[in-house]
Point group: C2
Chain length 305, copies 2
């Protein structure tokens, strides 16, 4: 069993860093929590099993900052370094963690959502493992984007996407755009985005999508078939989390194609089972990012990939 | 494009066989159609796109028989041979067929469900490709079981199951039992069956299941965790098609585990998305069997595997 202390943010734990946050993104889930929460944030009487904290707590999980202090045993960053924060909280010894799938931890949490301060704090003290150094050519501003980029990176990475595939992306909000960007980086030559908003569609085009379709004015299934030579998309990514989008995407992917859900749903999703069964389609969930994704994204930004 | 004539059962098509059915199984879907149908059977005004037939038609798709006549160009069987019937009907040139996924054909149908006679006929005339010779040591009685065995074979075959995995099977009806039997054949050492009926549970044990649990009297998620050293099942097969079973199985599989749906659902299935997303689980559909599965099953029966 690994040393659980490194996952604890107690003031007396040794392998920690104190960071002054500099840039912090506002995530869709922050808005959800602020306007309609608490949903994921632990409420009084029901503290988070790892942090022990409840409301009120500080938001912000997409952030970069400067190292102010390091604890004993920390050797991968030093005082004054620019860093970004990998905000997942996990216990390290649950059935998922022991397989290395810490983002699937039975007690999983998020810095800036489950406690331990957040990117909107003036100072945070975090386990050293949450703190990732930024290379000299990656600014603190870009550093705050590593987290959402890692979400898209991870989704594409564990999906069955391979070079040559046609991909449908549902929704061109921040995560949909990140998926587009990662697909471009991975040399995808046929990225089809379904988006209702004109502004977001424009962003999708700028980010490198090859086709943008408006589901309110065209038949997505027919259009995707047309744009894929009749075959259907090999993989679809759902970054919208809307029932009609799910139904449509399931029909728009090929037999044995995969629909990857990144979206967080507030209620149950329903499946038209004949579309799943009679075409042997796959539906899979992806959650945030895995160990190693942050490093891969920082490397990709640094090398311009 | 392949010669479509071989998929047509017109009396004048050349590459056909006439068969006298000898043994025929009654499938759950036959009961569905007879008692509560028509569901899959085409109704007047809406003929099957390949057979052109509608109700009334003859049931029976799990059958063996003896070749009575062969058409010109048929050389894999001769008059008097014992055979079994691979009952899938497909057009051969849809987007799925051209990928070789004929069981996912956009116009797919079934002998004994969509037309072309059925196992309860006295004589049927079928494309030669539907007719599979039985080796001398495989009886006509066993030959009628090749079809349901192929369903289980195919489900395990395209699932991510690998030796060493723990498997949960929902339902010990005929298809659940076949899945158990295939898993035993594939050396699975931890087959857990969830079944409410005492009689069916007994069959599951005889077929080789290692653990039988009754979901009405125990907590399936806890019990599966206990029987898998806390990890959860690697793969689950749903041969029941009941909402509560789906919900439970999704929780009972490990992070990144796969739930394989074999069942036919009459209504939409719903998913508790947090169980899918936060554990990165997979849900996949399987449909009947692929080309090659019949031959593999016949070989496995013949060699005693």
């Amino acid at each position: 069993m690994r040393d659980k202390n490194i996952w604890r943010a107690n003031a007396d734990s040794r392998v920690q860093c104190q960071i002054a946050p500099k840039f912090c993104g506002i995530c869709g889930s922050d808005l959800h929590e602020y306007l309609g929460g608490a949903n994921l944030i632990p409420t009084p009487g029901n503290p988070h099993p790892i942090t022990g904290e409840t409301l009120p707590l500080t938001l912000g999980h997409e952030f970069s900052g400067v190292v102010e202090e390091i604890g004993e045993g920390v050797d991968h960053v030093k005082k004054g370094d620019n860093v970004c924060v990998q905000p997942i909280i996990y216990d390290g010894d649950c059935r998922s963690c022991v397989q290395g799938l810490v983002n699937c931890c039975d007690k999983n949490g998020f810095v800036g959502m489950s406690g331990w301060g957040g990117g909107l704090s003036e100072h945070v003290v975090l386990p050293a493992s949450c703190v990732k150094p930024l290379p000299a050519n990656v600014s603190l501003e870009l550093g705050a984007l590593v987290e959402p980029l890692a979400v898209g990176w991870h989704a594409v990475d564990i999906s069955p996407y391979k070079e040559g595939d046609s991909v449908l992306v549902l929704g061109a909000g921040p995560i949909g755009l990140v998926v587009v960007q990662v697909l471009v980086g991975k040399k995808c030559k046929n990225i089809i985005v379904s988006e209702v908003s004109k502004g977001r569609s424009e962003f999708a085009r700028k980010f490198g999508a090859h086709h943008i379709i408006d589901p309110t004015s065209c038949d997505v299934v027919e259009e995707v078939a047309r744009l894929t030579g009749g075959k259907g998309a090999d993989v679809a990514f759902d970054a919208a989390g809307v029932q009609i989008g799910l139904d449509t995407a399931m029909k728009a992917i090929k037999a044995r194609g995969t629909l990857v859900n990144i979206a967080v749903w507030e209620k149950r999703a329903t499946l038209q089972m004949n579309d799943v069964v009679f075409r042997e389609r796959h539906y899979m969930g992806v959650a945030t990012f895995a160990l190693g994704d942050f490093e891969a994204v920082i490397e990709a930004i640094s090398t311009g990939e």
